[in-house]
C-alpha cells in the first residue's frame, strides 16, 4: 500500500473538480479587486495600495479557503462520496490533509492575486517576501482548518455558509485590518486576540509595511497553535460524528 498515491489523487481530483473550475478562478480574481476598490471608495483620505495589501491578502485567503472547504466537504458528505474516502485504507489524518491541501493551495494562490495587481499599481520594494510567503502559507493552513472545523460541525451546505460567516465577519472587523487593535474598546480586544486572523494580518503588516504590533515569533506560534487545535478538533469530530 502506497498512501501517497491516495493522497496525491485525492488532491488532484479536488483541484480538478472544485478549485480549478472557472467560477472559482474568477472568484480569485474578482474578490481582491472588489476589496481594493471598496477601500478606495470608502476612505475619506488618499489610500496607499501598499497599506491595503496585507488586509486584502488576508481576507482573500480567509474567504477563499473557508468557503470552498466547508462547502465541498459538506457536499461530498451529503452525496455519500465522502464515505468512499473514509473506507480507503489510509489514516484519517492523511485523508483530511489530502482534502485540505487543495484548499490551502487555493488560499495561497488567492493571496498572491492582489500582489500582482499591487505590483502594477505601485512600487513593492522593501517587502520581506520570505515573511510574506511564510505568513500566507500559515494563514491559508489555519483558515482551511477553520473551514474543516465548520464542515464537520454542519450537515447541510447552506449551514456551512451561514456558520462560516459566524466566524468570518467578526474576524473581518476585529483582526486589526479596518480598525487598529489599539483603537478597539478594551473589552473587545480579548476577542481580537482569540481570532487567528489577527496574528496572520499582523505578520503581513510587518512584512509589507513594518507596522505590525505583535512580536513576529508570537504571531507564528499563535497561528501554529490555532492550526493544530482546529485540525485535531476536526479529526476528533470526524471520528465521533462520521465514523459512528
Amino acid at each position: 500500500m502506497k498512501p501517497w498515491i491516495a493522497f496525491f489523487n485525492i488532491l488532484m481530483k479536488d483541484m480538478r473538480s472544485y478549485y480549478l473550475k472557472p467560477p472559482n478562478i474568477s472568484w480569485g480574481l474578482i474578490f481582491p479587486v472588489a476589496w481594493t476598490l471598496m477601500f478606495f471608495l470608502r476612505s475619506p483620505v488618499a489610500v496607499e495600495v501598499r497599506d491595503l495589501l496585507p488586509g486584502v491578502m488576508a481576507l482573500s485567503i480567509l474567504f477563499g479557503t473557508t468557503s470552498m472547504l466547508a462547502v465541498t466537504i459538506t457536499f461530498e458528505r451529503k452525496s455519500r462520496s465522502f464515505e468512499r474516502l473514509l473506507l480507503a485504507p489510509i489514516s484519517l489524518n492523511l485523508l483530511m490533509l489530502a482534502k485540505t491541501s487543495g484548499a490551502i493551495m487555493f488560499g495561497i494562490i488567492n493571496a498572491f492575486v492582489p500582489v500582482i495587481f499591487a505590483a502594477i499599481l505601485t512600487n513593492l520594494s522593501g517587502i520581506n517576501w520570505l515573511m510574506v510567503l511564510a505568513s500566507v502559507v500559515l494563514i491559508a493552513i489555519t483558515s482551511t482548518f477553520l473551514g474543516l472545523f465548520i464542515a464537520v460541525s454542519v450537515t447541510q451546505v447552506f449551514e456551512a455558509q451561514t456558520f462560516s460567516n459566524f466566524f468570518r465577519f467578526p474576524m473581518l472587523f476585529l483582526c486589526g485590518l479596518f480598525i487598529p487593535l489599539a483603537d478597539l474598546p478594551s473589552f473587545i480586544r480579548p476577542v481580537s486576540y482569540a481570532l487567528p486572523l489577527t496574528y496572520g494580518a499582523d505578520i503581513l503588516k510587518t512584512a509589507v509595511s513594518q507596522n505590525g504590533v505583535i512580536a513576529v515569533p508570537l504571531n507564528f506560534l499563535a497561528l501554529l497553535l490555532f492550526s493544530g487545535f482546529l485540525f485535531a478538533y476536526s479529526i476528533y469530530n470526524v471520528n465521533r460524528k462520521w465514523i459512528l
Binding site: N9, S81, E83, L87, A88, I243
Partner: protein
C-alpha cells in the same frame, strides 16, 4: 488451517448508539469463496453490521478478525483487502466511468498503469465500455449500480461487501447484477451480501444468517434452513369472494392450520404434515366462496424466515412495497 478458511470472524459484535442497541452480540463467520447472505427487515442491523466490519462504525463490544488477524480497533490494514459496495451508488458525479474506477484504484495505492489496466478489464466485464467516458451523472440507475460494484472490485479484494445490490433498480439490471455476482463467485470472490429480497438470497447465497432487531436468529445453508419446515405445506387458494368474512370461522374450524396471508380473494394457509384438501374446499363452498384455484406448494425460504423470526408476512410485504424497485419480488 480452519482459521485460514474463515475470511471474516465476528464475535459478540455489539453496537450501541446513545443507549439504543442496533446490533446485539452477533456471532458469525464467512468462509473463503462463499456468498454469505445477511437477511433481515429494515432496521434489523444489516448496514450497521457492514459498517462495523468495514471500519465505518466504531465497535461498542466484541471483535472482528480478517484472515485470523484482529482489526477491531484499527481497520486500515483490513480495509485494503475489502471491496465495499454501499446500498446507494456513491461515485463522483463529475468524473466519467473510467476516471471513477481509476480514482478508486488510487485510493487503494494502485499505480497509474495498474489501475488503468484493471479499470478497462472491469468496464469490459461489466459491459460498460461504451459508457466509459460518459460522466457518472449521465448513467442510468442500473449502470450506476454496476459501476459501483466494479469500483468495489478495482483492487481485487479478498472479500466484497454488497449492501442491497439490487434495491431500486429495474428487473433487467437486477438480473444482470445477480448474474455478475454469480460470475464473481465462480471466480472465487468471497461475498458478504445483505438483502431484504429473500428470493435473491435463496438463489445466490450458500449460507444465510437471519438478523432481526440486532440479533442473528438463525444461520445455516439454504438446505439447513429449509429443513426446519420439512413436512409442512402451503396451500394457496383463489376464492370467488373475500376471505376475511370467514377468517375467524376458519380459524375455529381448522385450528391446526395457520393463515399466512389472507387478502381479498387470495389466501395462503400453512397446513400440518398430513391433511386433506376436501374439507377445506367444502368449507369455502358452503360459505358461498367457490374455490377457483387450490395450489399446494412447499414452503420457501420466505416461510422459513416468517417462522423463524415471527415477523408477520403482511408487515414484511408492506416493507417490501416501500423499498422494492419496479418488478422486484420476494422482498422482506
Amino acid at each position: 488451517m480452519i482459521a485460514l478458511l474463515k475470511i471474516i470472524e465476528a464475535e459478540n459484535l455489539k453496537k450501541q448508539y446513545n443507549g439504543f442497541t442496533a446490533v446485539d452480540g452477533v456471532n458469525f463467520h464467512i468462509k473463503r469463496g462463499e456468498i454469505f447472505g445477511f437477511l433481515g427487515p429494515n432496521g434489523a442491523g444489516k448496514t450497521t453490521t457492514i459498517n462495523m466490519l468495514t471500519g465505518l462504525a466504531h465497535i461498542t463490544a466484541g471483535s472482528v478478525k480478517l484472515m485470523g488477524e484482529d482489526y477491531t480497533r484499527n481497520a486500515i490494514k483490513a480495509q485494503a483487502l475489502m471491496g465495499i459496495v454501499p446500498d446507494e451508488s456513491n461515485l463522483y458525479e463529475e468524473l466519467d466511468g473510467r476516471e471513477n474506477l481509476c480514482f478508486c484504484g488510487a485510493l487503494y495505492g494502485m499505480d497509474k498503469k495498474q489501475r488503468e489496466k484493471r479499470a478497462d478489464e472491469l468496464l469490459e466485464q461489466f459491459g460498460l465500455q461504451e459508457a466509459a467516458s460518459k460522466p457518472f451523472k449521465a448513467y442510468s440507475k442500473g449502470m450506476k449500480r454496476k459501476l459501483t460494484i466494479a469500483a468495489g472490485l478495482i483492487h481485487e479484494p479478498e472479500i466484497l461487501f454488497l449492501d442491497e445490490p439490487t434495491t431500486g433498480i429495474d428487473v433487467a439490471f437486477a438480473r444482470q447484477i445477480r448474474s455478475l455476482i454469480t460470475n464473481l463467485h465462480k471466480k472465487g470472490t468471497t461475498i458478504f451480501l445483505t438483502t431484504h429480497y429473500i428470493e435473491e438470497a435463496e438463489r445466490l447465497c450458500e449460507r444465510i444468517a437471519f438478523i432481526v432487531q440486532g440479533r442473528i436468529v438463525r444461520e445455516g445453508t439454504v438446505v439447513e434452513l429449509m429443513q426446519e419446515t420439512q413436512g409442512e405445506n402451503i396451500i394457496n387458494f383463489i376464492l370467488g369472494g373475500d376471505f376475511s368474512a370467514v377468517q375467524t370461522e376458519f380459524k375455529n374450524s381448522f385450528p391446526d392450520y395457520n393463515i399466512i396471508s389472507g387478502k381479498n380473494n387470495s389466501v395462503s394457509i400453512q397446513s400440518p404434515a398430513s391433511f386433506s384438501l376436501l374439507p377445506l374446499v367444502k368449507f369455502f363452498e358452503e360459505r358461498s366462496l367457490p374455490v377457483f384455484e387450490a395450489k399446494i406448494v412447499h414452503p420457501s425460504l420466505e416461510e422459513v424466515f416468517v417462522n423463524v423470526t415471527g415477523i408477520e408476512l403482511q408487515k414484511l410485504q408492506n416493507e417490501q412495497s416501500t423499498r422494492t424497485g419496479p418488478g422486484q419480488k420476494g422482498g422482506i
